[in-house]
């Protein structure tokens, strides 16, 4: 046991307070009975009630979900393909340029990405709506997926693919039957990352959305400009809850998988050949 020390306790409290105080206040005020956001009027869940009757918010949530699922799925497919090519193709002229170009959107300011996409959509006469948001989100989250997947592919034993070819697979079969199942954890975390990015995004969506489609962050942002309502607090609390549940579930799943693996290894060593 480490000894209790005032210094450690203070650093811990300050650190956590810095990180979580704003969110705690937000959660507390979401249960405020008063209509005034900064005045405590007793405990109530009425704002959650009005929230689920608010069509505009529900529509926005539905759009956000659709955009998130579709764009992260497409981004995962494209990003994995890009990673596979970058890691496997070996040296070819322009390789550095290519890989640089894949990773560039990672450091590009969102405003610029959004603006350029907007100009492109106007230029080719594409009507802005949910489809353009999906395209935009796919574009910027694809590079994140490709970074995650290529870091896994670099550590991947090339001989496994050669073994699959040697045993009669075509290149595509080797990828589907051997490479993909093995890199699946990286592909899934790439998808989750893309999905989270899409849920969070405000700037790019604002540039590429049309009047027909509004995402949840856009809706919150525009409502807040008219004044913070207790309803927004309730919505934000729900979003925090969803994210928390997601993170906790993911970590529990990975912990259980590692425990199971350890157990299997123990069993394997107990049996003498």
């Amino acid at each position: 046991m480490r000894r209790f020390s005032w210094f450690n306790a203070t650093s811990l409290t300050l650190g956590f307070a810095f990180l979580y105080m704003p969110m705690i206040i937000l959660v507390i005020y979401s249960f405020n009975a008063s209509k005034l956001v900064t005045v405590w009027g007793g405990f109530s869940t009425r704002w959650y009630g009005t929230l689920i009757r608010n069509e505009a918010f529900l529509d926005a949530a539905w759009v956000t979900l659709q955009v998130g699922v579709v764009s992260s799925t497409v981004a995962t497919i494209l990003g994995t393909m890009a990673a596979q090519v970058m890691v496997r193709a070996g040296r070819f002229p322009g390789r550095t340029l290519f890989s640089g170009m894949i990773y560039a959107p990672l450091v590009m300011p969102e405003v610029i990405t959004g603006l350029s996409l907007l100009l492109l959509f106007i230029g080719i006469g594409l009507d802005r709506g949910i489809f353009t948001i999906i395209l935009a989100h796919t574009t910027f989250s694809m590079c994140y997926v490709s970074v995650v997947v290529s870091s896994r592919l670099v550590a991947f034993d090339r001989a496994l693919e050669e073994a699959a070819l040697d045993l009669g697979c075509t290149h595509f079969e080797a990828f589907r039957l051997v490479t993909l199942p093995i890199i699946a954890p990286a592909v899934i975390s790439g998808w989750l990352l893309a999905f989270t990015l899409s849920l969070d995004d405000l700037v790019i969506a604002s540039f590429t959305a049309g009047p027909s489609a509004t995402t949840l962050p856009m809706k919150i942002w525009s409502s807040v400009r008219l004044g913070v309502s207790p309803e927004i607090n309730a919505l934000s609390t729900l979003m925090i809850a969803v994210v928390t549940i997601g993170v906790v579930t993911a970590s529990l799943l990975s912990k259980r998988a590692s425990i199971r693996r350890q157990q299997e290894e123990r069993e394997a060593f107990q049996v003498t050949p």
């Binding site: 496994l160 050669e162 070819l165 040697d166 045993l167 009669g168 299997e264 394997a268």
Partner: protein, 378 residues
Amino acid sequence: MAQPKPQTVFAPWTDPDAKPLIRFRNVTKRFGDFTAIDDLTLDIYEKEFFALLGPSGCGKTTMMRMLAGFESITEGTIELAGQDIAPVPPNKRAVNMMFQSYALFPHLSVWDNIAFGLRREGMEKDRMNTRVEEMLRLTRLERFAKRKPHQISGGQRQRVALARSLAKAPKLLLLDEPLGALDAKLRQDTQFELMDIQEKTGTTFVIVTHDQEEAMTVASRVAVMDEGRLMQVDTPAEIYEQPATTYVADFIGDVNLMKGNADPKEGFVLLDWAPNQPQIKAETSKNFAAGQELHYAIRPEKIAITAEKPAEAPNALQGKVLDIAYLGNISTYHVELPGGQIVKAQTANTRRLANRGFTWEDEVWLSWTATAGVLLES
């Protein structure tokens, strides 16, 4: 060291009518400016256990990867059963490979690993089951069929890799340093197991190794390679007893090399190799010019070590014991001659330690017959 198999006279390479399974014809492979394989011609016959032996970077792995289809051929042709294999992709070749890292699929059980190639072939279920069971029996893995690769030991993994590559009954099996990851004891057992399996299945095996003892043990013929060229292709016994070059003599086993000038006589050569030392007498059927520079190679175990000068020895040298390497079954004596040259002599320790004669600084005589060593042109 392995003995040549006495009962079977398996030597298709001596038969001019025998059709080789694999023909390398003037094969060259370049990676950029680097030449990995340099104008190499080689025949390998059916049912052979053929070893490619050489230091790392000698091109042996490249040769194997060209056979498997993972490397293209820069110049020349490789034929498998009479057909040029250059246009055939790896998944269409009747060649399977056992990888150095084993490359077992970690997400599949032992059973599914072995069945993998058969499934790709579209083999029907009953036949596939029978075939996989057969392979499991052959490699003694029945009990581990349900396990994943990370749940079995290194030796078992090695056997799974072997079973998987044999399952499709290839014409040719390539083994890339198959025993490199095993410890010494397991390795010896596995060598004999490999030979046994090779005999049972009648498959042609080509093994790549840098371990000369392994090559000598398992192979019917050994190709010694260096810098993309074949130095010598022969049976293990021939390579050991009749090395073609000083490189081969030095690479395989332990050897004393003496450089000198030839003094040819009728049926033998006298070699002037050091001032103030008697000439070495070596019987030979080859003709050498007078004064030609030659190397004389003699294995340490062919040299006898005695306290007194032997009466009838064609070659006898006197020296002082400088070092003794005691290996249990044998001892190697490093004997220093008056001129400073060091000659290694080996004796089997047939008696226990207390009864043996020589120790450091002892004056001893080294002697050997006229047929014990070989003369090599420089």
